[in-house]
Amino acid sequence: MNKNIAEAVPPPERKRVKLPIFSEIAAVPHMVWLALFVVLPLIFVVYYAFTDIKGDFTFANIAALSQHAGTFLTSVCYALIATAICLLIGYPLAFAISRASAKRQGLLIMLLMIPMWMNLLIRTYSLMAILDDGGIINGLLSAVGLPELHIIGTAGAVIFGMVYDFFPYMVLPIYSVMTKQDTRLIEAAYDLGCNRLSAHFKVTLPLSVPGIVSGITMVFVPSISTFYISQKLGGGTKELIGDTIERQINNPATRNVGAAISLVMMILILISVTVMNKFSDDDDKGGVII
C-alpha cells in the first residue's frame, strides 16, 4: 500500500526536470517561425545590401544612400512630429482613463481599441475619403458655405494619418503603467506637502516613464517606416523613406539599394530604441513592450 503511494507520486526532482523540456517543446513552433520569417529575411537583407545585381560584394549600395538623405530627414521629422502629437494628446488621455471608475475604464479602452480591430490600410483608405478634395470634410464645409480646404497631399495630412493610425499604441502602454501605480504613493505625496499638480509631476509622471518610452517607441518606429500612409494621404508628393525602400525593392534593378536603406534604417531604429530604453532603467515595471 505504502509502496504504491510512493510510486504514484513522482519525486520532485523529476518534475523539475520535466518542466523545462515541455516548455522547450512548446517554443519550437515559434522558433521555426522566427528562423524562417525573421532571421532568414534579415540575412537576405544583409546579403543584398552588400552585393550588386550579379551577386558580387560591393559597398556601392551603402555609398548610394546619401542620395536619400533628404527623404530620410523628412521621414524622421514627420515621425517625430506625429509622435509628439500622440504623446501630447495620449498622455493626458491615458491619465484620465486610468483615474476613471473601473466600468468607465473598460468602456473607454474599448473605444480606443475598436479602430485597432480594423486593418490599417482600410483605415487609411477611409481617411482618404474623409480628407479628399471632394471628401466628407470638404462636403461639410461647402454645405455650410465655407471655402473648401486642400488637405490631401499636404504634410499635415500625412502626419494626421500617422497620428490617427498609431495613436492607440501611445495610450495603451502609458495607461497600463498608470493603472498599476499604487494610489498610496499619491497619498504619500499629498501627505508630504504636494498638491494634486505637484504630486502628479513628482510621482505619477516619473513612474509613468516606462510606459511613455514604450509608447514613443511604438509610435515612432512604425511612423518612420510607413509607406502606405504617405502614398494614400500624401498624394504621391510626399515621399518618405518607407516609400523609397518599397520603390527600390520592387524594381529588380535597384533591389540592392533598397536592401541597404532597410539595413541602415533598422540599425538606426535599433540604436534609438536602445537609447530610449535607457531612460526607463527598470524594465520589469510592466508596460515596456519593445
Binding site: L185, D191, G193, K202, L207
Partner: protein
C-alpha cells in the same frame, strides 16, 4: 492629563456604500501622547486615521487640529505626517530623496535638507544608506525609511497605519521599542493603528479599543486590561473567561453555581452581569480547598507556563499556571476577590463563549490585513 488637546474628533460619522464605518466617534488626543487605535479588521480604525490625515472627509462631525477646524483642509496643508501600511516609499527615488521629499516641497535650503535627512537617518539607525535604492532594502529597513521620511518634517502629529504589520515577530518587537524611544525623544504625538493587542498594550499611553465603528473603551493599557467595560474588550484584549453571572449585592457575585466575594459594587440587586476572570488569576488547588471543582481536559506547555483547559460544570475555562497538573484529573479552582471583574451586560454579552472550541489558530484569523477598509 491637562495637556493641550492637539487632535479632537467630534461626533464623526462616515459610511462607504451604505455601510456605516464610523458612528458618532468622539476622541481627544493630547500633546506628546502615544495613542493606539486598536480593533479587529473592519472596525473603522484605519478610516479614522485617514480622516485625521485628510484622505477621507467625514459625512458628519468635525475634526479639530490644535483648536482649528480642519474638515476642509487638504492633507498637504495639515501639520501631520503618515507612515503608511506597506510603507509607500517612492520607487523612483533613492533613500535620501525619499526622505528629502517633504523638505523639498517646503523649499528648504539644500544644506538644511542634507542636515535634517542625515539626522533622521541616524534616528532610525540607517546612517550611510542615503544612496541606496528603496527597492533593495529589507522590509525592516524600508519601514525605517518610511518613519524617517515622516519624522524629518517635524510634524506635530505622526500617524502610523499598521506600520509593523509586514515585519516578522523579532523585528516587530525591536521596532516597537524603537518607535517608543523615538516618540519619547521627539515628543511628537503618535497615533498608531493596529489590530495587535499586545503591541497596543506595550507601546501606548492611551489605548482606544474600537469595534463596529464605535469606540468601546478609552484608557491606559492597565485600565483596558484590568477593567474592560464589556465582553468585547475583555475578549479582544488578552485571554479571558467570560461568564454569565448575577450581582447578588455589593461585593457578592454569583456565577458558575458559586457565590464569590468580589470588589465590585454599585449594581442593582440581582442584576445580571458579565464576569471576567483572567486565566493567570486562577489558582489550581487541591480538590478540598477549591471553590469550584473541575476536570482538566487539555494541557499545553507554553514555555514559561502551562495553558490548561478545565471543564467546570460544562463551561471550559482557560487557566494559566506554572505548575504541571495531570490531564483528566479532578482539581479544585480558587479565585481571589480581586481577580473577579464584573461588567454590565452589553450588546456583546454572550457573543464570546467558553474555550471549548479553542485553538491557537483562531488567533490568526483576526490578524488578516485590513484591505476592506482601505477602499
Amino acid at each position: 492629563m491637562n495637556k493641550n488637546k492637539i487632535v479632537e474628533l467630534k461626533a464623526i460619522s462616515k459610511e462607504f456604500n451604505g455601510e456605516q464605518v464610523l458612528s458618532e466617534i468622539s476622541l481627544d488626543i493630547h500633546d506628546n501622547e502615544f495613542v493606539t487605535l486598536l480593533g479587529p479588521s473592519g472596525c473603522g480604525k484605519t478610516t479614522m486615521l485617514r480622516i485625521i490625515a485628510g484622505f477621507e472627509t467625514p459625512d458628519s462631525g468635525d475634526v479639530y487640529f490644535d483648536g482649528v477646524r480642519i474638515n476642509d483642509v487638504p492633507p498637504y496643508k495639515r501639520e501631520l505626517n503618515t507612515v503608511f501600511q506597506k510603507y509607500a516609499l517612492f520607487p523612483h527615488l533613492n533613500v535620501y530623496e525619499n526622505i528629502a521629499f517633504g523638505l523639498r516641497q517646503k523649499k528648504c535650503p539644500e544644506q538644511e535638507i542634507s542636515d535634517r535627512v542625515k539626522e533622521a537617518l541616524k534616528m532610525v539607525n540607517l546612517s550611510g544608506f542615503e544612496k541606496r535604492s528603496t527597492e533593495k532594502l529589507s522590509g525592516g529597513q524600508q519601514q525605517r525609511v518610511a518613519i524617517a521620511r515622516a519624522l524629518v518634517n517635524r510634524p506635530k502629529v505622526l500617524l502610523l497605519d499598521e506600520p509593523l504589520g509586514a515585519l516578522d515577530l523579532k523585528l516587530r518587537k525591536d521596532m516597537q521599542n524603537e518607535l517608543k524611544n523615538i516618540q519619547h525623544l521627539t515628543g511628537i504625538t503618535f497615533i498608531f493603528v493596529t489590530h495587535d493587542q499586545e503591541e497596543a498594550l506595550s507601546m501606548s499611553d492611551t489605548v482606544v479599543v474600537m469595534a463596529n465603528g464605535r469606540i468601546q473603551q478609552i484608557g491606559t493599557p492597565t485600565d483596558i486590561y484590568n477593567e474592560p467595560v464589556n465582553a468585547f474588550v475583555a475578549d479582544f484584549i488578552g485571554e479571558s473567561n467570560i461568564l454569565d453571572g448575577v450581582m447578588l449585592s455589593d461585593y457578592k457575585a454569583k456565577f458558575a453555581g458559586h457565590v464569590f466575594d468580589c470588589l465590585d459594587k454599585g449594581f442593582d440587586k440581582n442584576e445580571p452581569v458579565d464576569i471576567v476572570v483572567r486565566p493567570e488569576d486562577i489558582d489550581i488547588v487541591p480538590l478540598e480547598k477549591g471553590m469550584l471543582r473541575g476536570k482538566i481536559t487539555q494541557l499545553t506547555f507554553k514555555g514559561d507556563y502551562y495553558e490548561i483547559i478545565c471543564d467546570i460544570k460544562g463551561f471550559k475555562w482557560m487557566i494559566q499556571a506554572t505548575d504541571y497538573v495531570e490531564p483528566d484529573s479532578e482539581v479544585g479552582v480558587y479565585i481571589e476577590p480581586d481577580a473577579i471583574h464584573v461588567m454590565k451586560k452589553s450588546e456583546y454579552s454572550g457573543m464570546f463563549g467558553d474555550y471549548s472550541t479553542f485553538s491557537d489558530e483562531f488567533e490568526h484569523i483576526s490578524d488578516t490585513e485590513e484591505e476592506s477598509e482601505d477602499e
